[in-house]
Symmetry: C2
Subunit: 185 residues, 2 copies
């Protein structure tokens, strides 16, 4: 079976997933935020098989999320540092952290976002810096950008259409002749 | 090779990843937020192989993120609706959306978060509802919760230690006799 190339989809969510690659990669990025940089450090933290770790680190470098920096010549050894794009992944990790704590920590909280000064756990909410308004599903929605194709516009209008038509009426049926929802390479 | 069970790790980020299962599952959740509920709707939207879609939908139901609801008896047909835990995944999608747009949309924006009334694109930032303060890496950090084990506390203190010791001094070397970083089942 051919592996689907998520980074060739126009949806920015799909494309982000294509860049991160795999679950292990997300945990490697997490550890990079904890200050880990060297192969054996990631290995000690994640207990991941070395060949898998090598592959994931290479992918993260190719995707532009980690940068390789040599720290020893003999033997050649490298450190891995977050790039600007890698550092911007932090809010995704914070969102996953909050979601995990809210729903999948029945025995109690193991890690949480805290204020550096007071150590009080944060209650993170999304706010629109443009309006100062809290972002909720009632006040904000995902809408098409200038580069949205016909399929994507259809997908985005579907929910509005469905809400108007009533739950049992509207069915998702994108226009068959519309531009494909994948970007040609 | 045995597949690692991420949902058995104490880290809430790892555990969240264990629940979502796989990239396709994230796109299925995305489409559920767009109002899709039926098998053929997800199929039409994602162009995913039917056996793969069946598997992913079943996993999302088992993980408690989607609920199955029968809408036809003959033939038996089901709809898939977001549960409360599933709906709370929305900020993760929004964070992925913003990250994708910031870094992986060189040809322009295809989809974005917009204000429902004005259609103006949002600039989402994280704010702590407790303090009203903007959450950044300078003001907030991930700290241990009451259920943090020794390994996790070590990981969280490492960065502080490293910043104090200077970048070339501190190495990640968790205490070997500490409690394992995986939850026994």
């Amino acid at each position: 079976m051919t592996k689907t190339d998520f980074s060739a989809m126009p949806c920015p969510i799909a494309r982000s997933l294509g860049r991160v690659g795999e679950w292990w990669s997300i945990l490697i990025l997490r550890d990079a935020f904890y200050g880990l940089t060297r192969f054996y450090e990631f290995e000690a933290s994640l207990k991941i098989a070395p060949n898998m770790l090598t592959r994931r680190l290479n992918e993260l470098v190719e995707s532009g999320l980690l940068a390789r920096k040599q720290y020893s010549e003999k033997p050649p050894r490298h450190e891995y540092h977050l790039t600007a794009a890698g550092r911007d992944f932090r809010p995704v990790l914070w969102a996953l952290l909050a979601w995990g704590n809210a729903h999948f920590a029945p025995e109690g909280i193991a890690s949480q976002l805290v204020n550096r000064e007071t150590n009080v756990p944060a209650q993170p909410v999304l706010v629109d810096a443009v309006t100062g308004q809290r972002i909720t599903a009632d006040t904000y929605r995902v809408g098409p950008g200038p580069m949205a194709g016909e399929q994507m516009r259809y997908r985005m209008d579907f929910l509005k259409h469905k809400e108007a038509a009533g739950d049992d009426k509207a069915r998702f049926n994108p226009p068959p002749n519309s531009a494909p929802d994948r970007i040609p390479r």
